[in-house]
Structures are given as structure tokens and as C-alpha cells.
């Protein structure tokens, strides 16, 4: 896959770096402030999941800009422990770390398109898109 830009997540402050870059990109292609906040929050959730559960990974951005639609695609890729039961983590209120358990279902609601792919022991990949309206 050819990504336009990636941010490595290794420290807690990398989460801030990732969402700042994401917000910048989102602003540049014409998202409004509300959608910018949504995208930044979604990146924050995804990056925090990487930091909390997989320790290291990366957040990548891809700008989609063709005749029909404009938007941003965000990938969150790690090679951490993976997720046993994906339907469980997509439920509101499920958390293994004592958090609110709103992260992944929240990202799904914040964004327009959401795909998650995970294999226990191999890692997790989340692909999510937001369109400019």
C-alpha cells in the first residue's frame, strides 16, 4: 500500500502528533471544524488503542480526491496481540483496560466508513473513511 504519510505510535505524545497531522490534512482538503474535531478524536482513539494494547504501531493517512468524492482515509496498523472477539469490542461499554469502552464503536459513529480486521497474535488493522460533504 502506498500511503501519503504515516505517524509512528510509540509514546503517549505520538498520539498528539498523529491527530495534529490528521487535523491539518483534514483542514487542508476542506473539512469544517466539527468534522475536523471528529477526525481528530477518531485518530486519538485509534492511536490510543495502539499505545495501550499493541505498544507500537502506526497511523497512516490517505487523501482521496477524485471527481466523485473527496475525503480522508485513516489506517491504524499494529502487530500487537490482536482482538479475540471483534463483535465484543464493537459493543458500547466493553473495555479490558477499565476505560469507558466507547473507543471503537465511537470511531465507527464519528466516521462514515469503518472496517476492522484482526487476527489474534498477529495484529490489528482498522481502516476508516470520512467524506467531505
Amino acid at each position: 500500500m502506498d500511503f501519503q504519510s504515516c505517524v509512528k505510535i510509540q509514546k503517549e505524545w505520538d498520539i498528539v502528533g498523529a491527530r495534529q497531522l490528521g487535523r491539518e490534512r483534514a483542514k487542508a482538503i476542506g473539512f469544517g471544524t466539527v468534522d475536523q474535531a471528529r477526525i481528530a478524536t477518531a485518530i486519538s482513539e485509534l492511536a490510543r488503542n495502539i499505545y495501550l494494547y499493541a505498544k507500537t504501531g502506526k497511523i497512516c493517512f490517505e487523501i482521496i480526491d477524485d471527481l466523485e468524492h473527496k475525503g480522508i482515509r485513516i489506517y491504524a496498523i499494529d502487530s500487537g496481540p490482536g482482538i479475540e472477539d471483534i463483535s465484543q469490542v464493537m459493543e458500547d461499554g466493553f473495555s479490558t483496560s477499565g476505560g469507558l469502552g466507547a473507543g471503537l464503536p465511537g470511531v465507527k459513529r464519528l466516521m462514515d466508513h469503518f472496517e476492522i480486521d484482526s487476527e489474534p497474535g498477529k495484529g490489528t488493522q482498522v481502516k476508516t473513511v470520512k467524506w467531505v460533504r
Binding site: E12, W13, V16, R19, T33, V34, Q36, A37, R38, A40, T41, S44, E45, R48, D92, G99, L100, G101, A102, G103, P105, G106, R109, L110
Partner: protein, 289 residues
């Protein structure tokens, strides 16, 4: 043998310095030092090369080197100036020495390389250490400064306290917020605490979770926590995330939050000046009639 080689270099320092200055000046155009005036650049170069030769002469790190590096750090010269300069010195010196001997066998060649490396490496190590030491020092100072700024608590009036939060909240800061909040509530005997998140760029589940916990802890010690400064876009993301903030009151602005804090403590703001004005106007209008 080594001493002989050293003497060759020291005796011919003028030639080497000249070459070095030429090389360094050539490098100059393409980078960092372009904002520095020519005079300063030349004089620093001369000083730099003198420092190098003193340390070659005295075989080791000298106090001149310490002084020089300290000054460069204070002036904010880039580290690459020093490392580039020393690499150039290494190259020029080796070139010169190889050019001096008529026939160079591999043994001699290795010896010269080794010798020059032994001169240059301690200097590079020393300077890089000093530079990174100074950076680490700066970073740790900024960390402390940031920590002092991270969770301030302002007692605005009896029983009402405000905690304005600005910038990103990480786990370390969240801990500080909780501690300062609870300490402050007890210390200032606050009935109402306003947490202002106007300056928090992103409220994700982690930040929300910490705020909820802090508000809950404040409730447990008998005070009320009001979350203020929720911008419209933050309100929408909180709804999208499905975070339940209904356990404590929230307001859009600090001003509205302060008003409800006054209500909660059975007080209100009264405008004194304007009421006097009104009375005067009334009297005026009566006089006119």
C-alpha cells in the same frame, strides 16, 4: 613515530588551517549558518581551528575546548557545524599527511588514519555529549515548567473555584488534575468547582473518562463539579462517542457556569452603579415635569 607525525601536523598547521577554512567556507552556503554574519563566521572558524590544534597539541580535551563549546551552545550554533568542521579537519589532515610522504604503504596509511581518528574522536564525543546534555537539561526544565502550568486551581471567590485546562491531557496530567482538584477543594473549602475545557483541543474517551472520574471524586467529598467551556464541535464528538456526561452539570461557557455556581451557593450578581443612575434619571424626569 606517532610523535613525528604529530609534529608534522603541528609544524604545518598554517597550511592545514588554510585548507580547512576554505573547505568549511565552501560548505557554508548550503545550510544552517547562512543567517550568521560573515565576520562572526570567520572569527568562529579561526577560533574553532585553534581549539582543535590546541587539543591535538596537548593530546586530549582541554579547557579551551570546554569554553568554546559552551559559548557555541549559548549562542545556539548548530551541532552539525561542529561535527562537519571536525570531519573536514579529519579529511584535510589525512590528505595533507598522505601528500607529504613520498611512498605510502598500507601500514603507514593505517597508522595515519588511526592517529587522526584518535585526535578527532575525543573532541567529537566531548562536544556531542555537551550539546545533548544541554538539550536534555532544557527538556527537563520545560517539563517542570509544563507541569507547573498543567493543572492550576484558582479560588475566584468564597466557595467557588475554577480550574482552567489548556492543551492536551495525557495520563500524567490527568493524575495531576485529579490531585490538584481534590486538594484545592479541601484547601479552599470550595462548594462548587468549575472545570473549564475551552482550551482542550480534543476530548476523546480517555479525557472524558478522567473528567468523569474527577467530577465523581469531587462529588464524594461533598462538592459540586460543573464542566464548562464545551464548544459545539466538542459537544458533537462527545455525543458521537456515546459518552454519558449527565451525572454532573455542564455549561457552554465559564460565564454561564459561574452564574449557576452562584445560584448553587445562594448568591447573585447585583449591579450597583446602574441602579443609582436609574434613580437619578427618574429624579431628573420628575424635576422636568
Amino acid at each position: 613515530m606517532n610523535i613525528d607525525l604529530r609534529n608534522i601536523v603541528l609544524e604545518n598547521s598554517d597550511t592545514i588551517v588554510k585548507k580547512w577554512l576554505e573547505e568549511v567556507s565552501k560548505n557554508r552556503n548550503n545550510d544552517y549558518t547562512s543567517t550568521i554574519s560573515d565576520e562572526l563566521f570567520q572569527s568562529t572558524n579561526r577560533e574553532f581551528v585553534n581549539v582543535i590544534f590546541t587539543s591535538v597539541d596537548k593530546q586530549g580535551v582541554t579547557s579551551e575546548l570546554d569554553d568554546f563549546s559552551e559559548r557555541l551552545i549559548n549562542l545556539g550554533w548548530p551541532l552539525s557545524y561542529i561535527t562537519d568542521g571536525l570531519q573536514v579537519f579529519r579529511r584535510v589532515t589525512i590528505d595533507y599527511m598522505l601528500g607529504q610522504s613520498e611512498k605510502v604503504d598500507t601500514d603507514q596509511f593505517a597508522k595515519i588514519l588511526d592517529l587522526v581518528d584518535n585526535w578527532v574522536e575525543p573532541i567529537i564525543n566531548q562536544l556531542v555529549n555537551e550539546y545533548s546534555g544541554s538539550w536534555e537539561h532544557t527538556v527537563s526544565l520545560q517539563r517542570v515548567a509544563l507541569q507547573e502550568l498543567s493543572a492550576p486551581l484558582i479560588p475566584v471567590m468564597d466557595n467557588i473555584t475554577v480550574m482552567p485546562l489548556i492543551g492536551t491531557i495525557d495520563t500524567e496530567r490527568a493524575k495531576l488534575i485529579m490531585e490538584n482538584l481534590l486538594d484545592g477543594v479541601i484547601k479552599h473549602n470550595a462548594e462548587v468547582v468549575l472545570i473549564d475545557i475551552t482550551g482542550v483541543p480534543v476530548v476523546d474517551t480517555m479525557v472524558a473518562h478522567h473528567i468523569i472520574q474527577a467530577a465523581e471524586a469531587v462529588r464524594l467529598i461533598g462538592s459540586t463539579c460543573i464542566l464548562v467551556g464545551i464548544r459545539p464541535e466538542i459537544a458533537q464528538t462527545i455525543v458521537n462517542l456515546g459518552i454519558d456526561l449527565s451525572k454532573f452539570p455542564t455549561k457552554s461557557s465559564l460565564r454561564k457556569g459561574f452564574q449557576s455556581a452562584l445560584e448553587l451557593t445562594n448568591r447573585k450578581i447585583v449591579q450597583t452603579k446602574q441602579s443609582e443612575d436609574n434613580v437619578e434619571k427618574l429624579l431628573d424626569s420628575l424635576n422636568k415635569e
